[in-house]
């Protein structure tokens, strides 16, 4: 990083007041965060983020490494609860309910807000059992035939059905990386979440597998709300409708993807998308 950029950053941060663009939506939002701070021990990783995620929209989150994208995404389904030192302040709402409320059951929250991880992480069980696991533990189906149908539908939606339909009882760990990731998406869809969070879902995949997953995201956006973290600007441009730019734990700018990639308002956003740093 050269000195001039550093200067820009520091001067920007000294005068940083609020997020540029339309972080808050006019209509109804599926999820919204209000003045959210996240701390790891004494270290603050997220600073006062206000952001809405609308129904059936694909929100891309971009920003330089270490800016807190994963941290922010993980607060949305309370995956950060598993980290002892992680503390969250502010409000995070799902359909108007605070998900960090004492009465909120984290198990049913995660059934409503599903997550796909950066590295494909299938269970070392059969392909069928991977997809059937969610419906089973939540008791969503009562008969085997019904479960079979759910598994098939989920695998079809994740466009992997044709590749695995003859080997459902074989271990999922025998699939290729791209297939595994699509299986993980199928597994997430099988509990029919309202929101799907994806943390760099294509970072371990080749361009062909990536293209398939991007197609998949486009299809899924008809029924689901999707928030996706990505390092690929092209990917953000291809799949998302809105884009949020994070920088050092702050939400700098939010806007329609077209606008962010063609005419960003903030200097930092512009620097990042034009590749001047990051």
């Amino acid at each position: 990083m050269n000195t001039s950029v550093k200067d820009t950053m520091e001067s920007t941060f000294a005068g940083w007041t609020e997020t540029v663009g339309n972080a808050m939506l006019e209509g109804e939002a599926r999820m919204s965060t209000r003045n959210t701070d996240v701390f790891y021990g004494d270290k603050q990783a997220i600073f006062g983020v206000d952001l809405d995620i609308g129904k059936n929209e694909v929100l891309a989150m971009i920003g330089p490494s270490g800016c807190g994208k994963s941290t922010f995404l993980r607060t949305l389904n309370r995956m950060n609860d598993t980290i002892d030192i992680c503390k969250i302040k502010g409000e995070i709402l799902l359909d108007g309910e605070n998900i960090y409320d004492k009465n909120m059951d984290v198990v049913s929250l995660r059934a409503r807000v599903g997550m796909v991880f950066q590295k494909p992480n299938p269970f070392p069980k059969s392909i069928y059992d991977n997809v059937a696991y969610g419906p089973r533990i939540h008791g969503l189906v009562s008969r085997r035939a019904e479960l079979d149908e759910v598994v098939e539908t989920a695998l079809r939606k994740a466009s992997i059905w044709d590749e695995v339909k003859d080997r459902l009882d074989q271990p999922a760990t025998g699939l290729s990386g791209g297939q595994q990731q699509r299986l993980c998406i199928a597994r997430t869809i099988a509990v029919s979440p309202e929101v799907i969070l994806m943390d760099e879902p294509c970072s371990a995949l080749d361009p062909i597998a990536t293209a398939r997953i991007e197609e998949l995201i486009a299809e899924l956006s008809e029924n689901y709300t999707i928030a996706i973290v990505t390092h690929s600007m092209q990917q953000a441009a291809r799949v998302s409708t809105r884009t949020a730019y994070f920088h050092l734990g702050r939400l700098i700018e939010v806007g329609s993807t077209d606008k962010i990639f063609t005419a960003p308002d903030h200097k930092l956003t512009e620097d990042y998308i034009t590749g001047r740093f990051g």
């Binding site: 599903g114 997550m115 992480n121 939540h138 271990p171 509990v191």
Partner: protein
Amino acid sequence: MTDQNLNAIERMAMVKQERMAAKLGKRYAKEKRFQAYGIVSIVIGLSFLAMLLGTIFTAGFSTFYATEIRLTVTYDQELLGVADMNDESQLAFANWGALVKNALAERFPDVSGRSARRQLNSLVSSVAEYDLKDRLEAHPELLGTTEEIWLMADDEIDALMKKQIDRDAPESERRLNDFQISLVDSLIESGELKTAFNTTFFTNGDSREPEQAGIRGAMIGSFFTLLVTLVLSFPIGVSAAIYLEEFAPKNRFTEIIEVNINNLAAVPSIVFGLLGLAVFINVFHLPRSAPVVGGLVLTLMTLPTIIISSRSAIKAVPPSIREAALGLGASRVQMVLHHVLPLAMPGMLTGTIIGMAQALGETAPLLMIGMVAFIADVPGTPLDPSTVLPVQIFLWSDLPERAFVAKTSGAIMVLLGFLAIMNLFAVFLRRKFEQRW
């Protein structure tokens, strides 16, 4: 271009070939030396093992066969001196020895005189008469009849047959005199003396008579003790490990617990024996010398091993699997039961079997709780007084009779056999439960 114009890397590159070649020879020599060290230490280790096993096998092998003598026994009520054959108490005091003596006298009618008779009678084990008692009790219809039966020979005869007594030595230096040897020879000639697989060794409890002493009591005692240990220590150890690893908050208190578990693993086992004596026997009044108490003591001893190995097995489960389960909405308990536990199971089982193998060979703490007593009966329940294999070995190794030397080694062989079986079982379980990811 002169040397001065070159930078450090370029200068190095010019001499790279020869320098590397010079170094290469050394590197290969070092590698060869390193391999040689490894091979030498393995050879040393193996030769010690071979020596150990060799001595044990040569010393112990003879205990697996025994000498038997065929006699024609008449189940004579008069000889027994019993009025009522259905009276248990009369049977117990009947003169069973007379049957044996009578049979021997009939086989060697020429032997006369008190001393010669006594030497004749000493051919057969002094406890063989109880075999006759057992047989007649099992088959009352044999009373009054005559049958040929193989009876156990005395341990001196057995030693002669196993060449542990040198028949060419001068008579005064032999445990058997010429007359006894002539009797044995005539029995051998007529095929009335044979060596057979020593089933007694596996069916009898301990005895003062070496030819009658067996390891069944110790084997059953070890089995009950290990059963109690396994039933207690596996569930307790695994749940403790799961709780500490997955649920316990990380604070000062759990840290102290963790350190102390590691400390406990290093406590000398005899201390657990003293603890068992003080708590289980003196406070809770559990029976002395019983496998339950042995099992409880060994549970205390094995728990740290099981907890530590289970925790490292749990730690080795990749976090991504946990996240996958939690991300789908599994509760923590579901995550542990459905994913962590199956993946950690091979490691947990290995740790448990290592702990069990340790417990099987443990002697010192069991001496403390009285399992060292002489017990001839084979225990029927974990509450009966009993001994265990290593303690039996310890007891026999202390006895002066020659036959017990072989028995000691024989018992060691049985113990080693069990250890090998347990380790094979561990390998089998690991294979069976292993899952790849």
